[in-house]
Every structure is written in structure tokens, then in C-alpha cells.
């Protein structure tokens, strides 16, 4: 399980970095999205990979922490998802504005001379 998740994070992160370094704004936006998925998974994994365990405890009953998942990374991931979602939306608006104002989707606003 750890290996699958680690490979998943690696593939997402690698693809994200590659796209981030591309010259088209849309590729950059996609790259940032992929990177954010990789980072979100990474945060999630920091609470250890354990299947079938609830992140909350019953009131009053004696608690064995080993039987439960860590709820904090899940809360962190939720916050991170919301924030990256909002900022990516903002980036898309700026991307469209830049496309409209400069007439090209190159990140520098001018086409490369080839």
C-alpha cells in the first residue's frame, strides 16, 4: 500500500513539475493542479497509511490510539484542498485575462522566436 501511494505521489509530482516548467499558461495551471494533488496525498500519508480505521473516538469509552486514524492530517488536507482550489480558480481568471490582453497563451506574453 505504501509503495502504491508513494509511486502515485511521485508520478503526480513529477508530471506536475514537468508541466509547471512548460511555456503555455494552461500547462502551468494543470501542472500546479497535479502538484497540489501530490502534496495533498503527501499530507494525508503523513498520518500513516492504515485502512479501516475511524478518525474519531466514542465518547466515554476507553481509547486505544493505535486503533484509530490520525484526524489532524485529514483536517489539514481539507484546508489545503479548499485553499489550492480557490487560488487555482484565481489563477485561471488571470490566465484568461493575460490571454485576452497579450493575444498569446505564452507565460511571458510574447511568443518564442524560432
Amino acid at each position: 500500500m505504501e509503495l502504491v501511494i508513494a509511486l502515485g505521489i511521485g508520478v503526480l509530482g513529477g508530471s506536475g513539475v514537468w508541466l509547471l516548467l512548460r511555456p503555455r499558461t494552461f500547462q502551468v495551471a494543470l501542472g500546479l493542479s497535479l502538484l497540489s494533488y501530490a502534496v495533498n496525498l503527501f499530507i494525508f500519508v503523513m498520518g500513516w497509511v492504515r485502512g479501516g480505521r475511524a478518525p474519531f473516538v466514542a465518547q466515554g469509552a476507553p481509547v486505544d490510539p493505535a486503533a484509530f486514524a490520525d484526524p489532524l492530517p485529514q483536517a489539514l488536507v481539507l484546508t489545503a484542498i479548499v485553499i489550492t482550489f480557490a487560488t487555482t480558480a484565481l489563477l485561471l481568471v488571470v490566465l484568461l485575462a493575460a490571454r485576452g490582453l497579450t493575444g498569446t497563451d505564452h507565460v511571458d506574453g510574447v511568443e518564442d522566436e524560432e
Binding site: 509547471l20 502534496v39 499530507i43 493575460a98 497579450t102
Partner: protein, 515 residues
């Protein structure tokens, strides 16, 4: 908990509420919006002044949100350094808002709300004692800064903002990776608790946590504009509108603040000091070269900001408490000076339409600046004395940024050098840094003299249309600097206490973890 204790959260709540209320007021009611926004900023100034006055007795004010005790809940911590930076942000906000009343706040939508949200994020970042909360406040201030960087529109602003947003989004993801690594090892996000947990962790785990902190540091370096992560800074700030750029001068200081706080708390200023010093010196050298190569005043101001960032990072890395205190003095002075300069540039540019065209041609040839002439709306009456005021203010900004007497830029640099050279350790690096600092001062003098000659003597002069409400904030910031020079002794005493507390964070840890 008395009412006075709630003062710690006021710098976050006040701008947040004001910004939200401002969204409800229709854009046609300029006067009402301006009054509400400026009123909130003035109230923030008063709160920040109170925080500074209260700082130090007791050493650290801790505010547990929802009364949850420290390792479990999120705490806000107001010590001398946090209070000072909140005050600095409030001063800049009042100046920028006042300046914007002449023209800028009516150019686009929601200017006041953006400024207020930026303030909420800034103050939260300065006050929080929790790493993930720091991330949230960083995002809040960055999101508003994206809006402010774009404010006023235009192709150039949009292009530079796009770079700015992409770089900072990537940096935010690094921030998250760092936070996740630290949490994975220490199982806590509270900064004080983190120190305790890391001290008791196995060596292999500690290495992982240090990697996490290193990744965090990269994210902070991007915000601080450290070389080689700061290439976005000068073009973005040069493209931003004048009040936004003046406010942005403190954004780089958030990165410096985060490095200062976390590095001294977690590492106690031991490992990684050389790396910090080299990053700082490289930034300083890059900023110096940038200042010399600047074809426009705005680029000059942007590179002056890089010089200030580099100086601060190197000062933190190289020295002990005395150097940190001097660095903090320099931080306050350079932030005020560059902010005043950003405001001044717009006024000066109104006076030199003819010269600007020639400059634009040379700038195009070098490909350094991508300035575009912006249709300027003429505001205000023609005041013959305005030119005299502008040139005097320009001189003052130049003296401040280059660090020449009698203004306090000199005191900051002098205190920094004497503190570094008095210390026994790593003399070679300290001397190199001193040399670089002197060289950067010389470069700033040359750049300012050249620009001043070009602007005030070279080009055919047009009497600029400048309003009192635009001159007042520039003058106020410069007078504040002069006051810092006159009151250098009490100011330095306060900063020395702040630096001592940073270098020996026992009081911070005790106060935070006691509750």
C-alpha cells in the same frame, strides 16, 4: 480572561470585519468606503501601538483561540517582534490608503477590501504560534496580494501578476510539504511544542524534520525574494500600482520574519547559519547589481527591496542577538524608506513625461524593464512648491536606502556592522558581508544620483499636479524615519530586548505551553 487579553486577536479580526463590511458597500459610495477603510486602518494603528506598549510586560502575550490549551488548540502569540511588525504594517496601510484617496481607490473594484484582507493575513502571520495557521494566513495575504498586484489592470500588470501568482502558488505547495514532514515526525504543529518534541526525537526522525524545515525555508526564501528565488520580485512590484507596491514592501519581510522566528526557535541559531548568510549575501549582491542596472525608478525601488531582504537574511545568519537587533532596526527603516519611495515615484513620474519616453527606448534595448506608459488621469492643482517637495523627498529616500547620515538608514547599517565585527566567530564571512554592504550603499548612491540628475535636472520639467493627500503620506513616512533617528536609543533598547527574547526563547516556550 479580561478584555485587554483580547487585544491580541484584534489586529486579525478588525481588518477582516472591515474588509467584509466594505464588500457590502456599493462602489459608488467612494467617500463612505474610504472613510470606513481608513477608520479601520487608524483603529488598527491604535491597537498595534497598544500592543507595542504592552509588549514586554509580561514578556509574551498568549491568546489561546477558543480557550483550548496550547499543544491542542491554536494560539496567537504577541511578543515584542510580532507587535512591532503589526505596527509597521498598520503604519504602511494608513499611508497607502491615504495616498490612494487621490485617485487609485476609484480606479478598480474592491481596493479597500483587498487592503483590509491583506492586513488581516499579515497580522495573522506575524501573530500566530502554529505552523499550519501560518500557512493559512500566508495564503490569505497572498490571495489579497494577487488582487492588489493586478489592481488597475493592463497587459503589463496582468503578465507580471501571472508570474507572481505561479511562483507563489508553487512556493505554497513547498510550504505544505514542509509542514507535513514536520507533523509526520513531531506530531504537533505548535511552534513551541515542536521544539520540545524534536528535542526528544530519535536522530533519524530529527533529520527528517530538519529536511521539512529546510523545505519550509525554501518557501520563505521565495517570499523574501532571496537569490535565486527572487527574480519575480522587481518586475511585479514595478508593475503594481503605487499604493499596492508600498504595501508590498512588508510582504518580503513576512518571509524574513518567518525565517527569524522558526530558525531561532527550532535550531537555536546553530545549524544552517552559513547557508542563510550565503543566501543573504547572494541576494544582496544581486540587488546591488540590479540597482545599478535599473533603467526606471520603479525597478530601482524593487531592487532596493531585494538589497534590504538580503541584508536582513545575512544579518540573521551571521550574528547573535546584537546583530539581530540592528537588523530589526534596519528592517523597519528600510521598509518605511522603500514604501515612501514607491509612493514618491508615481508623483515624480508625473513630472517627467518627456524624459520617460527616451528612457523607455533604452530600457527596451536592454530588455530590463517592461514598462508601459499608462494613461494618467490628471489630478490636483499645479503647485510650484511641489517640485521642491518631490526633490527633497527623493533626496531623503536616497539617503535612507543608501544608508548615509543623517537619516537612520545609516544608523541601521552602522549598528549591524559594529555588531558583526565585534563578534569573534567567522570573521572572514563577517568582513565579506561588511564589504558587500558598503558596496551596496555605494551602488545605491550612484543609482540614486544618476536617477535624480535624470529626473530633476535632465529632462524638461513639467510642474507636476500633486495633491496634498498624496504628499502627506510620503512626508509622514519620511518624518517617521527621522523620528526613529532622533529616538534611536529607546528604539534600539526595545529591539535589543526583542532580539534577546528571540535568541533565548525560554519565556516564549513557557508562556505558550503553560496554558
Amino acid at each position: 480572561m479580561g478584555a485587554a487579553e483580547h487585544l491580541v486577536i484584534a489586529p486579525v479580526v478588525l481588518p477582516l470585519v472591515a474588509g467584509a463590511l466594505l464588500l457590502l458597500v456599493d462602489e459608488r459610495h467612494h467617500a463612505a468606503k474610504a472613510a470606513l477603510s481608513l477608520g479601520a486602518a487608524l483603529a488598527l494603528l491604535a491597537v498595534a501601538a497598544l500592543l507595542v506598549a504592552r509588549a514586554g510586560a509580561p514578556e509574551t502575550h498568549v491568546y489561546p483561540l477558543g480557550s483550548w490549551p496550547a499543544p491542542f488548540g491554536i494560539v496567537l502569540v504577541a511578543d515584542r517582534l510580532s507587535a512591532l511588525l503589526v505596527l509597521l504594517a498598520a503604519v504602511l496601510a494608513v499611508a497607502a490608503l491615504c495616498f490612494s484617496l487621490a485617485r487609485w481607490h476609484r480606479v478598480g473594484l474592491h481596493f479597500h477590501s483587498l487592503v483590509q484582507f491583506l492586513l488581516a493575513g499579515l497580522n495573522g502571520a506575524f501573530l500566530t504560534g502554529d505552523i499550519f495557521n501560518l500557512f493559512v494566513f500566508f495564503e490569505l495575504l497572498l490571495a489579497s496580494s494577487y488582487g492588489l498586484a493586478l489592481y488597475g489592470g493592463g497587459a503589463q500588470r496582468t503578465r507580471e501578476s501571472l508570474h507572481y501568482i505561479v511562483v507563489n502558488l508553487a512556493a505554497s505547495l513547498l510550504f505544505l510539504i514542509g509542514v507535513a514532514l514536520i507533523y509526520g515526525v513531531a506530531g504537533t504543529l505548535n511552534m513551541a511544542d515542536l521544539v520540545v518534541r524534536l528535542a526528544g526525537s530519535a536522530p533519524a526522525d530529527r533529520v527528517l524534520a530538519e529536511v521539512g524545515i529546510g523545505v519550509l525555508a525554501v518557501a520563505f526564501f521565495v517570499k523574501a525574494g532571496a537569490w535565486p528565488l527572487g527574480f519575480w520580485l522587481a518586475p511585479t512590484y514595478a508593475a503594481a500600482s503605487a499604493p499596492a507596491a508600498a504595501l508590498f514592501t512588508i510582504l518580503t519581510k513576512v518571509g524574513v520574519y518567518a525565517v527569524l522566528r522558526l530558525w531561532l526557535l527550532v535550531f537555536g541559531g546553530a545549524s544552517g547559519a552559513q547557508l542563510l548568510a550565503f543566501a543573504g549575501m547572494a541576494t544582496l549582491a544581486f540587488g546591488t547589481l540590479g540597482m545599478l542596472s535599473s533603467q526606471s525608478l520603479r525597478a530601482l525601488a524593487g531592487y532596493a527591496l531585494l538589497v534590504s531582504s538580503g541584508t536582513l537574511l545575512a544579518a540573521i545568519g551571521l550574528g547573535g542577538a546584537a546583530a539581530t537587533a540592528a537588523g530589526l532596526y534596519y528592517l523597519v527603516v528600510s521598509t518605511l524608506g522603500v514604501a515612501a519611495f514607491f509612493l514618491l515615484i508615481e508623483l515624480v513620474e508625473r513630472a517627467r513625461e518627456a524624459g520617460a519616453d527616451v528612457l523607455a527606448v533604452t530600457a527596451e534595448a536592454f530588455g530590463v524593464d517592461r514598462q508601459e506608459a499608462e494613461p494618467e488621469e490628471e489630478v490636483g492643482l499645479l503647485i510650484p512648491a511641489a517640485m521642491a517637495f518631490l526633490s527633497l523627498a527623493f533626496l531623503a529616500c536616497g539617503l535612507l536606502i543608501a544608508g548615509l547620515p543623517p537619516l537612520p538608514g545609516f544608523l541601521g547599517k552602522f549598528a549591524l556592522m559594529s555588531a558583526l565585527l565585534a563578534e569573534e566567530t567567522s570573521a572572514a564571512i563577517a568582513w565579506t558581508f561588511t564589504g558587500l554592504l558598503l558596496l551596496s550603499g555605494l551602488a545605491a548612491t550612484i543609482a540614486f544620483a544618476r536617477a535624480g540628475v535624470r529626473v530633476f535636472w535632465g529632462a524638461p520639467r513639467i510642474a507636476p499636479a500633486v495633491r496634498l493627500v498624496e504628499m502627506a503620506p510620503v512626508a509622514a513616512l519620511l518624518v517617521l524615519c527621522a523620528l526613529l533617528c532622533v529616538l534611536a536609543n529607546p528604539a534600539m533598547a526595545y529591539l535589543q530586548d526583542a532580539a534577546a527574547a528571540l535568541h533565548a526563547p525560554t519565556s516564549y516556550m513557557e508562556e505558550v505551553l503553560r496554558r
